[in-house]
Amino acid sequence: MNNAVWISLLAGVVVAATPLLLAAAGELVCERAGLLNLGVEGMMAVGAVCGFIAAFTSGNAYLGLLAGLVAGLLCGLLFAWLTVQLMADQVATGLALTILGHGLSGFIGHGYAGDSITGLPALPLPGLSDLPVLGPILFQHTLPVYVALALVFGVHWFLSRTRAGLTLRSVGEDPKVSYSLGLRVNATRYAAAAFGGAMAGFAGAFLSTSYTPMWAEGMVAGQGWIAVGLVVFATWRPLRLLVGAWLFAGVGIGQLFSQAAGLDLNTYLLSALPYLAVVVALVLISRDPLRIRLNTPASLGRPFRAET
């Protein structure tokens, strides 16, 4: 197999990992603030349909990305309103959001299935895109691919180096203590949920305006759930998301390629490989239960009421 084939496969992995990275980075921030939002799949669906409709009606795929982001943000705010304000159960609310997102996206997108748009253009980064090997793998993609990579490092920097990030983490660890210290627990959680939603919506819009420029009900096809899983896989550490998302996308594309190359392997086993790889990785991580417990935001999934 020559180098060009490898390069094109690895470039494919970087693109396939993009929606996972975007949605998982958003969910990670949300969970670090103590909110477990299982509605990522539904928010991605809403982002995908709104993104497609905006791109289709305006003729501008970038507007589609923006519309997807805003739609996802609104979904995130809805989640925050229900779980922070009304203190609804987070798991149930998240699942409801997924179901709602599925139904709503089908309803909104009713007349648009089967329409075609011109997808986002590739934006080769000047200078970087001409690098041998790395250029075509990393720097000849559409905008959201770069955003996803920058986002992972951005979230890492935000959580570990900024005051706001510290506030967010302390809210996630112990909202009561944070509140007594004068931190704005609810506002922080609202913001985190909105960010998580916006990134999920953006990821959905990437699918419908760039990855497969079309709208079809069910096109998110479980990627939101994988994003939620990746957050646990990464033990709530942003940079580890890169490893997880690339591993997952890489095994997925690798199994398709091994078939195209005519290797004599069982296709059902191959299809299960990405999931198997994640399970193996999780087992390796959880050999040390203490490490998981130390990393898990302590208040994850628990409602907070300010005692007065």
Binding site: S8, Y112, A216, L256, Q259, A260, A261, N266, S271
Partner: protein, 370 residues
């Protein structure tokens, strides 16, 4: 949407051969026709598993319904219920049957058993179920010989490929899939004996992301024509963006691949719906298993791309005519399997039963048979 047509289709092919014969005759008139007390106009219900949308499996059935309504005019009054999940199917059939619909088309393989159950409850309603294999006195089934159009597509692909490598994206290892891949490859070798087919199983009927990735990896491995038996236009989009060719599936996908689409398989249920409704109206309906292809019009060939050379276009039209008038059998020997073993000797052809249960790839298909 992933559930449409369902995994159970595997069973369809296997069992179809044995199930096609045994119809209970007791409820029928002496002439074999199943007669019901008709009310005019005939109310007809259509049940689709997907949202209708503007492309794909259910959309093609909706086009068929509209065609029937147009041809038969005020003799019939039809309604479509879309996006019916398997779990809700029975309730929808009952509701249609009890609201005066006397002919009901259920258009997913997974609707087979619910249709059978409801058909027994409503003897004065006639049911027609797509792609299944069970029948009852008031229930028939129908399916398409999609492989006929795939054979013609293979003729075109063989002439157009420069790398002599074709990619085929496959959903599940069922006879329908082996039939289309084998027929395609037989056509391919007729115009280009050196060309090979690389297969990729994606184990889904519909997942745009995965179909795109499969198409991308096929492109990376050097194919320059992509065919698929999955349902999304993602492979067509990939072909268009790489400046290579693709074969459309279910619907005309020219919107997604104005330059890429060479030709393709189009499902066309309209003529069948007209004929069936007419038979019911005229008291000439009986429960049958219909497996129609190019001749009956259930399967059509998408328009040939202007890039196809004239001699190939002529050959396609010649073979199409021969298939339609029954003088050409695609699965005629000598046919070898992947290991080079002679499966069909020269001068012999596969029987209908063998076709229904087909489980092997012909020589020239690379990649595992399941």
């Amino acid at each position: 949407m992933s559930t449409r047509r369902d995994f159970l289709k595997t069973a369809a092919g296997l069992a179809a051969a044995s199930a096609m014969g045994g119809l209970p005759m007791s409820a029928m008139a002496a002439d074999g026709y199943y007669k019901i007390p008709l009310k005019k106009p005939l109310k007809i219900g259509f049940v689709y598993i997907d949202p209708i949308g503007n492309i794909g499996w259910s959309y093609q059935h909706e086009l068929g319904r509209k065609h029937m309504q147009e041809v038969l005019g005020d003799q019939v009054q039809s309604v479509a219920v879309e996006n019916v999940a398997d779990a809700r199917a029975e309730a929808v059939f009952r509701q249609l049957a009890s609201s005066g619909h006397q002919l009901i088309f259920t258009t997913s393989f997974s609707f087979m058993n619910p249709t059978l159950k409801v058909a027994k409850e409503f003897p004065n309603v006639i049911f027609e179920q797509a792609t299944g294999f069970k029948t009852a006195p008031n229930m028939g089934n129908y399916n398409g010989r999609f492989y006929e159009a795939q054979y013609l597509s293979g003729l075109v692909a063989g002439a157009m490929t420069k790398s002599n490598k074709i990619g085929f994206i496959l959903p599940f290892p069922i006879p329908e899939v082996y039939r289309v891949v084998d027929a395609f490859t037989i056509g391919l070798h007729e115009t280009n004996p050196k060309a090979t087919v690389s297969t990729v199983w994606v184990n889904t009927w519909y997942d745009p992301g995965k179909e795109r990735e499969a198409a991308q990896t096929l492109v990376a491995s050097g194919v320059d024509v992509i065919a698929t038996h999955t349902d999304s236009p993602a492979p067509m989009q990939v072909a268009e963006s790489h400046g290579i060719y693709a074969i459309a599936q279910d619907s005309n996908q020219i919107k997604y691949g104005p330059k890429a689409q060479l030709t393709g398989v189009i499902d066309n249920w309209g003529p069948y719906y007209v004929e069936t409704a007419r038979r019911v109206l005229e008291g000439r309906w009986k429960p049958e298993s219909t497996w129609g292809g190019l001749k009956s019009g259930i399967v059509q060939l998408a328009p040939l791309s202007p890039a196809v050379p004239k001699d190939i276009a002529d050959l396609v039209m010649k073979r199409k005519a021969e298939i339609e008038n029954g003088t050409f059998n695609i699965f005629t020997g000598p046919l070898y399997d992947q290991s080079g073993k002679l499966k069909v000797p020269a001068g012999k052809s596969l029987s209908e039963g063998e076709l229904l249960g087909l489980q092997w790839f012909v020589k020239g298909v690379e990649g595992k048979a399941s």
